[in-house]
């Protein structure tokens, strides 16, 4: 059998795609499909076959007040971490991009939280937050305030988790901003200096718009990170007290591995996937069109 040149090219292209396709299928698409299927069935007990229940699992999930509480927590967590860490990252990047004595050290210091493994970082913060001997409470004690139960008080615990996440994420995002700032031609600043443009005006008219692609990238990353939190909670609060710090993925983890309820876990996972898909679509359709890419 002889192949035409066209078919050869087709085959060649398909072969090039094959490794990526195999990996993605094995580790992303198949599990996703299995998860979706799982969320539509109830497991049979004592050897009984699984039973197709349609959207009933979703119905049950949406009637579960804990799910809504966790979802609300996650929303607060997202709103608390994303803008703060992005703004902080931008400020830090602008700061260390300037003419600064020992800026290598400062950049390094800002980046340190990122290279620390999450478990290690959470352990450090455990020490900050510990009720009696913790750093924060000792500082408060010196100033004459009574201590706060940072991780044990339901009204404060989520805030404490958010603070730690911001600390950890900002340094990571700063690197992207720093790279973008350094690729901006210095003549732009010089040209606007010659016009007597104020720093403020220059930032809003030039720097910020030119950083928009980076901001978008960082924003999407931050969003994904916001629904990916398991490890901090595992160390710091285990979702407690009374689910005050429980977040979606940790809730999935609990359902799957503590309560051995794979079905609920699958159902929540599908909900998370849908939300992320909507966000990604918004990003690609609306935000990209308003952003200037070089």
């Amino acid at each position: 059998m002889s192949l035409t040149a066209y078919h050869k090219m087709q085959l060649y292209g398909a072969l090039l795609l094959l490794p990526a396709a195999v990996l993605l299928t094995t580790f992303a698409y198949l599990p996703t499909i299995t998860t979706v299927i799982n969320s539509l069935f109830l497991p049979g007990f004592r050897g009984a076959p699984t039973e197709f229940v349609g959207l009933e699992n979703y119905q049950v999930l949406f009637d579960d007040p804990t799910f809504w509480k966790v979802a609300r927590n996650n929303l607060i967590y997202a709103i608390g971490t994303i803008p703060t860490s992005i703004a902080l990252a931008l400020c830090m990047a602008l700061f260390v991009n300037g003419k600064l004595r020992g800026r290598g050290v400062v950049r390094m210091a800002y980046f340190t939280p990122t290279i620390l493994p999450m478990i290690a970082a959470a352990n450090i913060w455990m020490f900050f937050y510990a009720p009696q001997i913790g750093l924060f409470n000792q500082l408060l004690g010196i100033l004459g305030f009574s201590g706060v139960n940072w991780l044990g008080d339901p009204s404060v615990a989520l805030g404490s988790v958010i603070a730690m996440s911001v600390w950890k994420e900002a340094g990571f995002f700063m690197i992207f901003y720093l790279a973008a700032l350094q690729s901006m031609p210095p003549e732009l600043k010089e040209a606007s200096d010659l016009e007597g443009t104020s720093r403020w005006h220059f930032f809003w008219r030039v720097t910020f718009p030119l950083l928009m692609p980076t901001t978008l990238f960082v924003l999407i990353n931050a969003l994904i990170n916001a629904v990916r939190v398991v490890d901090h909670l595992f160390i710091l609060t285990k979702g407690g007290p009374n689910n005050a710090t429980n977040l979606l993925l940790y809730y999935v983890y609990e359902n799957a591995f503590s309560f051995f309820d794979g079905t609920t876990a699958a159902t929540i996972t599908v909900v998370i996937l849908l939300v992320l898909a909507v966000v990604a679509t918004l990003k690609f359709t609306i935000l990209d069109r308003r952003t200037h890419y070089q």
Binding site: P185, E187, L188, E190, A191, S192, D193, L194, E195, G196, T197, S198, H201, R205, V206, P209, L210, H292, Q294
Partner: protein
């Protein structure tokens, strides 16, 4: 004309740790002048310009604009505009927004912005492109946007750092004339950095030639061409460059190294260099008075031909008209004594020596037709 666009540099120096980019230079630009800073790469032209603009701080010395000492003033307060080699356009802003960027910074009223924009866009022929982003413009159009941005500010002084170096040869010659025309029309004082001697000669009212951070010569293009102050200046101006021949002591005067038979300059000139431009040399039949030589190759350029001629151990360039085809032939080089330049051992010009023409020129032939006339 008011004095506010006069620029005065007094003993300005710029040092970076070990390197001295600009070394104790002074000059005074009168309003309305088109001044060229010319020199090879790395001689400190851009640094000088950037110090005038305020983008770089002078290590020592004083800079005055008009009556003011601006040495420590920020760039925005110096009342000047600048065109960058890379144009420095804001990629996310339209042409119109790029042009009025400075006006917005200075809070010029909207109506006035629009009116000035329309006028300037007309002037540089950009009216049809105001809504485009810079990425969608050609190099020449981007160049015009950069020009428009500096014109619209209506500052009397405009600094330009190699504004044409990213354009192709054809466009460059068009833009040269456009910039020159704009400058005289708007009566701007321009300091223009270039390493291209053609730009310098054709645009400048005055050329400041620099080397190693110092001024080598400061004069009109005419003076630079006709009376170069040093061997470096001589070799930098003119295309092809002036021939520089080492002189050694002969029996009764200085001779070209390797060609002891012909006296070319008084004895005192030995040890220095003799400079003669390719266009000031005549090729004459081998027996006539002059320096014996041999044509080794020719480069035909269309309107004229550059012949490479061997004298002693040196090769000279000679500009001939037409396409003479003389390669391999012996000949005699003739030049008028008024056209030669003598430089001492340090490369500095010497005018203190009496010069005489080669013993009797056969007849005075106008230069171009003389070429090749001896073949038969």
């Amino acid at each position: 004309m008011s004095n506010q666009s006069r620029i005065r540099l007094e003993r300005v120096t710029k040092r970076w740790d070990a390197t001295t980019a600009v070394d104790d230079i002074s000059f005074d630009v009168t309003p309305g002048q088109f001044v060229i800073l010319l020199g090879p790469s790395g001689c400190g032209k851009s640094t000088t310009l950037r110090m005038i603009a305020g983008l770089e701080e002078a290590s020592s010395g004083r800079i005055h604009i008009g009556e003011r000492d601006v040495t420590r003033l920020p760039p925005g307060d110096r009342g000047l505009s600048m065109v960058f080699q890379s144009y420095a356009l804001f990629p996310h802003l339209s042409v119109a927004d790029n042009i009025v960027f400075g006006l917005r910074s200075r809070k010029v009223p909207k109506a006035e912005q629009r009116e000035r924009l329309a006028r300037v866009a007309e002037l540089v022929d950009l009216t049809d492109y105001l809504d485009r982003k810079p990425a969608k413009l050609s190099g020449g159009q981007r160049q015009r946007v950069a020009l428009a941005r500096s014109i619209i500010s209506e500052h009397p002084i405009c600094l330009m750092d190699e504004p044409l170096s990213n354009l192709d040869a054809r466009l460059r010659s068009d833009m040269r004339r456009e910039i020159k025309a704009l400058q005289s029309r708007l009566n701007m004082t321009v300091i223009y950095v270039t390493h291209d001697q053609v730009e310098a000669m054709s645009m400048g009212d005055r050329v400041i030639l620099m080397q190693h951070g110092k001024i080598v010569q400061d004069g009109t293009p005419d003076e630079l061409y006709n009376r170069p102050a040093s061997a470096f200046a001589a070799s930098f101006i003119g295309s092809p460059a002036m021939n520089l021949l080492p002189l050694v002591a002969g029996e009764t005067g200085a001779v070209i190294e390797g060609e002891p038979s012909t006296l070319v300059a008084p004895m005192e000139a030995a040890g220095g260099h003799l400079g003669v431009r390719p266009e000031d040399i005549e090729l004459r039949p081998a027996a006539s008075p002059g320096v014996p030589a041999k044509v080794v190759s020719e480069e035909y350029l269309g309107a004229d031909t550059i012949a490479y001629v061997e004298v002693g151990s040196h090769t000279l360039r000679v500009r001939l008209s037409g396409k003479p085809l003389l390669t391999g032939q012996p000949c005699s080089l003739f030049w008028a004594s008024k056209n030669i330049h003598l430089f001492d051992a340090n490369g500095l010009r010497r005018d203190d020596m009496p010069l005489s023409d080669f013993a009797p020129p056969i007849r005075s032939i106008p230069r171009p037709p003389a070429v090749g006339s001896f073949q038969h």
